[in-house]
């Protein structure tokens, strides 16, 4: 397994490095930051001063090396917009986003996985069809639309919950529900098909023939084997949650990375955008790596692959 993990770790690092480089290239060629940040009638002297201050007057190669060295040493510069250290501007938003996506992930697992298992066990019954129809519906609705619908029902009509902001826990309920319901729909469908596939395997029939109780067959034999594809899918879901943060946090005016990213892009705040892209990438890479580790833990074929097995 160690070779497998070392391989995956190396891949993760290469992905990070490529992203760093790609971000640099894209952002440098997307326009002159000085023109974007300063007012159109700024004097050439002011523009020049801005470029010198941010090192934009040097050669591209110099800028790149400087940039890589800074990232490696944890220097991410200052926001063009308000001069605060980028690291502060971004890190204060990270917990906000992690709360929503973390709770959203837990919600979607708690709803999606049991719904999928139940549907698989009652395959082709009315309960299965209803569950799967709801899942297809939930899967098809864009998350921001679901968010708006929840706001309309629970904030505008029923007035049970606030529609936006991030004061106390009540503000988090609707965004978490948005993540949870949208994600649960996909996971329920996937769990159902993964479970059905496993339930048709001869080792499940063998367990039945051995007299193992149905509930034990599900939780000791079927679910552990179905969990390999489910975990893979959950990895994609986490990535989807982070991507969806851009929309969902904007809908609910939640001050996390997603809404911060939208703001930084619209302001042309290169230093912040750059760091946020790196943070997003780091999240994705670590999620993928976690999935790979779980995959190895769950699957003995990978876990034991260093021990001379075929």
């Amino acid at each position: 397994m160690s070779r497998f993990l070392a391989n995956r770790l190396l891949r993760a690092l290469i992905t990070l490095f490529l992203t760093v480089t790609f971000v640099f290239i894209v952002l440098r060629f997307s326009g002159d930051p000085a023109e974007q940040m300063l007012s159109p009638d700024a004097t050439p002297e002011a523009m020049q001063a801005f470029r010198e201050r941010w090192g934009l007057d040097r050669s591209i190669l110099e800028q790149y090396l400087f940039y890589v060295r800074n990232i490696a040493s944890g220097e991410f510069g200052f926001s063009y917009a308000n001069g605060r250290p980028v690291i502060d501007v971004v890190t204060e938003r990270i917990p906000k986003t992690l709360i929503l996506t973390g709770a959203g992930l837990v919600t979607l697992i708690l709803i999606g996985v049991p719904a999928g298992i139940a549907a698989a066990l009652r395959r082709n019954t009315a309960a299965d069809r209803i569950t799967m129809s709801l899942a297809v519906g939930g899967y098809s609705i864009p998350s921001f639309l679901l968010g708006l619908a929840l706001i309309y029902v629970f904030a505008v009509e029923l007035r049970w919950l606030p529609s936006s902001g991030s004061g106390d826990w009540r503000h988090a309920v609707l965004p978490i529900a948005t993540y949870g319901l949208a994600g649960a729909a996909g996971i329920a469908r996937f769990t159902r098909s993964a479970m059905i596939e496993v339930l048709d395997q001869p080792y499940i029939r063998a367990a039945k023939a051995a007299g193992i109780a149905p509930i034990e067959i599900v939780f000791r034999h079927a679910l552990p084997n179905a969990s390999i594809p489910i975990v893979t899918m959950l990895g994609f879901n986490v990535a989807g949650l982070l991507g969806g943060a851009v929309l969902v946090e904007t809908v609910f005016a939640w001050p996390g990375l997603g809404s911060g990213f939208v703001r930084a892009v619209s302001q042309g705040d290169l230093a912040v955008v750059q760091f946020m892209v790196l943070i997003f990438t780091a999240f994705m890479v670590s999620v993928n790596f976690t999935v790979d580790v779980l995959y190895a833990v769950l699957n003995p074929r990978i876990r034991l692959s260093d021990h001379g097995a075929h």
């Binding site: 001869p202 080792y203 029939r205 063998a206 039945k208 023939a209 051995a210 007299g211 699957n299 074929r301």
Partner: protein
């Protein structure tokens, strides 16, 4: 060996699979198993043979209560499957076992061999913890596997080792009844011989009663006393295996036996051959399901289904049974 009450008995057993009709496909019915009567005496070794798709595996599953019959009754030790309470079922599971065809798929890929072999013991409260592991280890040794297998996973074993594990797991509870469903088909010939030897040894040791489902007539002879030949869901010929092999009376059995490869290069080519493939629709009409491929078919075969008629300790379902004797086979060969 044979006591009055059979350990397993089936009467009029049938299983129909229906496929729901779609927009362009009509609703279709497949009679996987139909009108099966069989008796397995205590200590009996019955082979079920036939082409793939003839319903042998479905029959095995029905007999073990792993699939629900559409018709008929099954009795294990005189108790009907349909009358079992959950506790009765649990007792039946304890006393019966299934060995499936593909040993890799029959083992849980995420569980160690030791845990899988020990699982029935703990589930039925026979032993737990270290005692269960010890019994599992002994079970593995009995099928010729070392204790080092306990910690391994299925993918780390060879095909023959996996099949031994599946057999060890089936026998760990010392069952009274085992269904071997193509238990050696996936193995190399040399390994097949080992596993057949193993099954025979275990049968002697435990006094098992078993059904040996196979399409391989060469193997069957070494593991069974009686044979039942199935064609499209029905038994077409049954009897003591030596008698059937010596003088098959049903044209299908004759063709199957004639098609068995012989080691003797001077042996004559099969005199009886069958054309085409088994078509399930042939079983739907009033006549004999085999008539479409039978060289001996006459008009009566299309209008009237032959009953399985007993003759001594054997039975055949063919209007022309007995006509097709050895001399006649030779004549057929001359003609063709």
């Amino acid at each position: 060996m044979v006591s009055a009450v059979p350990i397993l008995e089936a009467r009029g057993l049938g299983r129909i699979f229906t496929r729901r009709g779609g927009l362009f496909a009509p609703r279709s019915v497949l009679r996987a198993v139909e009108g099966i009567d069989l008796e397995l005496p205590v200590g009996g070794r019955l082979a079920i043979v036939g082409e793939s798709g003839c319903g042998k595996s479905t029959l095995g599953r029905l007999l073990l209560g792993l699939a629900a019959p559409s018709a008929g009754t099954i009795l294990f030790e005189s108790m009907e499957h349909g009358h079992r309470s959950p506790a009765d079922w649990k007792r039946f599971r304890r006393e019966s076992a299934l060995v499936q065809q593909n040993p890799l798929a029959a083992l849980d890929p995420q569980m160690t061999i030791g845990a899988q072999v020990a699982e029935p013991l703990t589930v039925h409260g026979r032993a737990r913890g270290a005692a269960a592991r010890e019994m599992a280890e002994r079970g593995l040794v009995e099928v010729g596997l070392g204790p080092e297998m306990m910690a391994r996973f299925p993918h780390q074993l060879s095909g023959g080792q996996r099949q031994r594990v599946v057999i060890a797991r089936a026998l760990v509870m010392s069952p009274k009844l085992v269904v071997f469903d193509e238990a050696v088909s996936a193995l190399d010939v040399s390994v097949q011989a080992q596993v057949v030897g193993l099954i025979n040894a275990q049968q002697h040791r435990l006094g098992l009663s078993y059904l040996f489902i196979s399409h391989d007539l060469r193997i069957v002879r070494h593991v069974a006393d009686r044979i039942a030949v199935m064609y499209l869901g029905r038994i077409v010929e049954t009897g003591p295996i030596d008698a059937i092999y010596r003088a098959p009376t049903h044209p299908y059995t004759q063709a199957l036996l004639a098609a068995v490869p012989r080691l003797d290069p001077r042996a004559r080519r099969p005199a009886v051959t069958i054309r085409g493939e088994a078509t399930a629709s042939a079983a739907d009409g009033p006549g004999c399901a085999f008539r479409t491929r039978c060289a001996m078919a006459i008009a009566r075969c299309a209008s009237e289904r032959p009953e399985l008629l007993a003759l001594g300790d054997r039975a055949t379902a063919c209007h022309r049974a007995g006509e097709v004797s050895e001399p006649q086979r030779e004549r057929m060969e001359l003609v063709s």
